[in-house]
C-alpha cells in the first residue's frame, strides 16, 4: 500500500508495517496510524514516523537506545510494560530548521511493541516520576 508523505513523497509499505496507536499521542489523540520509514542510510539513528491520515503529519524519531544507552525508561513503574522486543524512540524537535540545535524529548518517549499476530502497537508515555528533560540537545555544547 502507498502512504503519502509531504517529506518523503509516496512510500510503499506492507500492511503489517502499519503501527496502531490506540491512544494517539499526548494532545494529538487522533494520530493513530503510522509507519516507520528510515530517515537515511547515512544517519541510522533517525527514523520518520509518518502518519497515514495526513501527508504533513510526521514525527522525527531518535533510536534512543543507540544514542543514550544509559537512558533508563522505568516503564515497569509507568503504565506500559517493556518486553524484550519493545522499541523505544524519542521525538526530535528541530528549532527553526537548524539541526545543530535539535533536541529530543526524553520525558515522553514513544514505545512500540511488535504484537505478533496483529499490528504493532505504539503509545507515548510520560515519565513523570523522573527528571528527564523535555528538550535534551542532540549535540553536546562545549560551554
Amino acid at each position: 500500500m502507498l502512504v503519502n508523505s509531504s517529506r518523503l513523497g509516496e512510500v510503499t509499505v506492507q500492511p503489517g508495517d502499519l503501527i496502531s496507536f490506540p491512544s494517539g499521542f499526548i494532545g494529538l489523540p487522533e494520530w493513530q496510524s503510522a509507519v516507520l520509514v528510515p530517515f537515511s542510510p547515512e544517519v541510522p539513528l533517525l527514523t520518520w514516523l509518518q502518519f497515514t491520515h495526513d501527508a504533513d503529519a510526521a514525527f522525527l524519531l531518535l533510536d534512543v537506545a543507540e544514542f543514550a544507552p544509559d537512558y533508563d525508561v522505568p516503564l515497569a513503574q509507568q503504565e506500559a510494560e517493556l518486553s524484550e522486543a519493545s522499541r523505544v524512540f524519542t521525538i526530535v524537535s528541530v528549532p527553526a530548521g537548524d539541526f545543530s540545535r535539535a533536541t529530543t524529548n526524553l520525558l515522553a518517549p514513544v514505545v512500540i511493541e511488535p504484537n505478533p499476530g496483529g499490528s504493532p502497537l505504539g503509545k507515548q508515555v510520560v515519565l513523570h516520576e523522573t527528571s528527564y528533560p523535555l528538550r535534551h540537545p542532540l549535540f553536546g555544547r562545549d560551554d
Binding site: L60, E79, S93
Partner: protein
C-alpha cells in the same frame, strides 16, 4: 463536570476500578491519593500541556540537508559518557 465536597480521608470511586482519596489539605494544596489499574495513565494536567506543546512543535519539524552535516561531523563512536549526546 461533577463537583463533590470531600473531607480528609474521604474517598471517591470512579468507574469500577479507580479510587481517589483526599489525603491531606495544607494551605491551598490538596494532597490526593489515586488507586487505578496499571494501564490507566494519571498525570498532572500541566505536564500533559507541556508535552502536548512539544509534540505540536515536533510535528512540524522540517529537516534540511544540514542534518547529514551535523550528524556526520561527529566521530562515529558511541559515547562512553553518561550524558546523552550524539557521539563527539
Amino acid at each position: 463536570m461533577l463537583v463533590l465536597s470531600r473531607k480528609i480521608g474521604e474517598k471517591v470511586r470512579i468507574g469500577a476500578d479507580i479510587e481517589l482519596t483526599v489525603i491531606e489539605i495544607r494551605g491551598e494544596a490538596v494532597r490526593l491519593g489515586i488507586t487505578a489499574p496499571r494501564g490507566i495513565a494519571i498525570y498532572r494536567q500541566e505536564l500533559l500541556d507541556t508535552v502536548r506543546e512539544e509534540n505540536m512543535a515536533a510535528a512540524g519539524v522540517k529537516v534540511g540537508e544540514d542534518v547529514r552535516f551535523h550528524a556526520n561531523a561527529s566521530a562515529c563512536k558511541r559515547s562512553d559518557k553518561k550524558s546523552a549526546t550524539f557521539p563527539v
